[in-house]
């Protein structure tokens, strides 16, 4: 296990000129020993580039990679002692489940007794103990991916285990199980885990710390709670949460606050800096309230969806769409009707030039 530090940038092009030429803009990052991290972002954000630089599949065009303070920029994946799990199962069909799990250990000449012990342990955690003698060939895609995960986790002497969207091929129900397993394994083995995904639920549920990436930049690093409650950047507000944060223009001057095109009274105790800002409020914190109350605007109902565990309200404040997650018991006007929505309050975030300022 190792602490990993990055101080680098990467461009696939020679002689990068502008920011767009970089897959990863200059950055400095640390992954603590034994931590569970997720790199989260849309395709093209640079998360896979970063993973490949950590694993040694890719050499950064500038800067260096350190493992426990030692420069490993030129080292191969083998020399870095990294285990990897990919999107699709990478296993040997002709071997049994047990042989597949033992393979990374045999390769490293681990004593047979120790191999047996570790394979048994991992198989039990993954609930595959009864399948150890079964051939991998006949198994379902799910089971094969479980073996891949097991192979990634079987060695306890690795610097880190890297996961590249490992649950893509897994059905929703099994994802719940596997995520639980991964968390338990992390809890027991304290390996350094780095997990790449575009799926915010996977990232937030898996990791202790999440690095949200956009266009070659880490826009925020934080715990799931921090990313949800106080997104540092409007991109994070939009990207985390389903649906994402409501964002609408707010202008404040001389004590007057205009939200969308409506003047609203600021709730007492809420500090609103002067200027042209963007208000961010999560649909979970957007409540139906009496128009005229502080922080409440009048919106027009566009649609109401029954999402099983609640209702998803889509409304418009002027031209701006606002969503609210409300309880099933809340009575809502039909489409076209007017509704008061509390947008300014203790859960509201204010952004200037996309950065959180209050």
């Amino acid at each position: 296990m190792a602490r990993i530090d990055l101080d680098l940038a990467h461009a696939y092009k020679a002689k990068p000129q502008s920011e767009e030429d970089y897959a990863l803009l200059p950055l400095k990052l640390s992954f603590e020993d034994g931590g569970a991290y997720a790199l989260l972002g849309p395709s093209g954000c640079g998360k896979t580039t970063m993973l490949n630089i950590i694993s040694g599949l890719l050499t950064p065009s500038q800067g260096a990679v350190f493992f426990d303070g030692v420069d490993k920029t030129a080292a191969t994946p083998q020399e870095r002692n990294i285990a990897q799990v990919f999107q699709f199962p990478v296993i040997y069909d002709t071997m049994t489940v047990g042989e597949n799990l033992a393979f990374p250990l045999r390769n490293r000449k681990v004593p047979p007794a120790r191999i047996k012990e570790r394979v048994g342990q991992i198989a039990e955690m993954l609930e595959m103990s009864h399948q150890l003698d079964q051939r991998a060939a006949g198994l379902s895609a799910d089971a094969k991916q479980k073996i891949s995960l097991g192979r990634g986790l079987v060695r306890d002497d690795v610097s880190a285990v890297l996961f590249d969207e490992p649950l893509t091929v897994i059905d929703p129900h099994l994802k719940w199980q596997l995520r639980r397993k991964l968390k338990q394994i992390h809890h027991e083995l304290k390996l350094t885990l780095i997990y790449v995904t575009h799926d915010q639920v996977e990232a937030l549920t898996f990791a202790e710390r999440i690095l949200v990436m956009s266009r070659g930049r880490v826009v925020q690093e934080g715990t799931p709670e921090e990313l949800f409650e106080r997104p540092a950047h409007t991109f994070v507000g939009h990207f985390i949460g389903s649906p994402g944060m409501n964002l609408l223009p707010l202008s404040a001057s001389g004590g007057r606050v205009v939200l969308g095109e409506q003047e609203v009274q600021a709730p007492p105790g809420l500090r609103i800096p002067e200027g042209e800002l963007t208000l961010g409020i999560r649909p979970e914190y957007t409540h139906v309230a009496d128009p005229g109350q502080p922080g409440v605007v009048l919106a027009r109902v566009e649609k109401v969806q029954d999402i099983g565990t609640g209702q998803l309200l889509t409304a418009r404040v002027g031209p701006h769409a606002v969503r609210a997650r409300v309880g099933l018991e809340q009575a809502l006007p039909a489409a076209g009707g007017a509704v008061g929505l509390a947008l300014l309050g203790r859960h509201s975030c204010l952004y200037k030039n996309e950065e959180l300022i209050a």
């Binding site: 849309p42 059905d171 995520r179 799926d199 915010q200 639920v201 549920t205 389903s242 999402i307």
Partner: protein, 360 residues
């Protein structure tokens, strides 16, 4: 357009892929085919499209038997998981291709309108390879819409897209479907997607059609334990229980005072209680029952915390709104209203579902 499948079966080799399925998707509406991989969604769609013939049964379109008739002679458009476009044609030419084939007029204008609707109006002169995955799938969707077919089939069209893009495109699709007269069939593995699309849902599991009806109704009144399991995410929590005088008894735990319908011919007293993860809460309300256990794991999804509990009566998952911190291994009590419980009989058929919070 009225599509009717009558006792469709599909065998591949000696393996049954679809068992005796009868389904008439609501004309002019969206029908979601919901099920895990290998539930039979794609096999069924291919038969609907005419890409495959069923081994048994009939396919009827507006009362006419079209079983075995090739896809070329059917009025159907299909969108796949993979982004399929003509690589050497521009976006505009791709979208125009079905219209040209039919020798239509005003093609340019209609291509432009469709492209604008799907937010690819600025890419009309590009080749598909010059677009992102999400944009490529938009082109495929626009081309399918350009066909103006009376039956539109979409086989997990968003599965290869980023999470956020899925959200956006799903919303746009729902909008497009609501303004079209086509009968739409949409396959997905995700319960949440079915709920957001609304319309009607057919739940499939291992080649069987388990239930078909308005989406909200299937969600609120799953006919069986299998439907309830398939149509829940996180999975519904199930507990073995007994039917007793005055309700349902959870072993070593509470009595749920529920009025069950009369037992059929004094049959087995064993029942299964189902509780949705969202029915469990941390704070007690009046009339609540409690479950005690140890925290196995707590996952924070942002808006919710998923608490995995090893309880007296089995492992369970609770979805509680907001961010909460738990110590792994610590004792924890969860509460639920007995009226939130589903009850299934020994055969797995629904005996009782919670009365909806609203009458919908």
């Amino acid at each position: 357009m009225q599509l009717r499948l009558e006792s469709i079966g599909k065998k591949v080799g000696s393996e049954d892929w679809l068992y005796d399925m009868s389904l008439s998707p609501q004309p002019g509406a969206v029908t979601v085919l919901l099920g895990a991989t290998r539930a039979g969604k794609t096999s069924l769609m291919r038969i609907m499209a005419g890409l495959d013939a069923p081994s048994t049964g009939k396919v009827l379109v507006d009362g006419l038997d079209v079983t075995g008739q090739s896809v070329r002679r059917r009025d159907v458009a299909m969108v796949y998981q993979q982004f399929i476009n003509y690589p050497s044609l521009t976006v505009a030419q791709n979208i125009a291709s079905p219209m040209k084939l039919r020798g239509e007029k005003n093609i340019d204008q209609r291509v432009r309108a469709l492209a604008d609707k799907l937010h690819i109006g600025m890419f009309l002169d590009r080749l598909p390879a010059e677009l992102s995955g999400g944009q490529q799938q938009r082109v495929a969707l626009a081309r399918a819409l350009a066909k103006n077919a009376s039956l539109m089939l979409l086989d997990e069209p968003l599965v290869n897209l980023d999470y956020k893009l899925r959200e956006e495109l799903r919303e746009e699709l729902a909008q497009v479907f609501s303004t079209s007269d086509a009968t739409v069939v949409y396959a997905t593995t995700e319960p949440g997607e079915a709920l957001l699309l609304g319309g009607y849902t057919a739940v499939l599991d291992r080649g069987e059609l388990l239930q078909y009806g308005p989406t909200a109704q299937v969600f609120q009144q799953p006919r069986s334990l299998r439907v309830a399991r398939a149509f829940s995410d996180p999975p519904m929590n199930f507990f073995q229980a007994f039917r007793v005088l005055g309700g349902v008894q959870l072993p070593r735990s509470a009595l749920l005072p529920l009025a069950l319908p009369d037992a059929a011919s004094g049959s087995a007293e064993n029942v299964t209680v189902g509780l949705r993860a969202s029915a469990l809460r941390l704070r007690e309300r009046e009339g609540d029952l409690s479950l005690h256990g140890k925290v196995l794991l707590a996952e924070i999804s942002g808006s919710d915390t998923f608490v995995h509990l090893s309880s007296d009566i089995g492992d369970l998952v609770a979805q509680v709104p907001g961010v909460h911190h738990f110590t792994l291994g610590a004792a924890q009590t969860l509460y639920f209203a007995p009226s939130a419980a589903f009850v299934f009989d020994a055969a797995g058929d629904l005996l009782l579902a919670p009365a909806g919070a609203r009458s919908s």
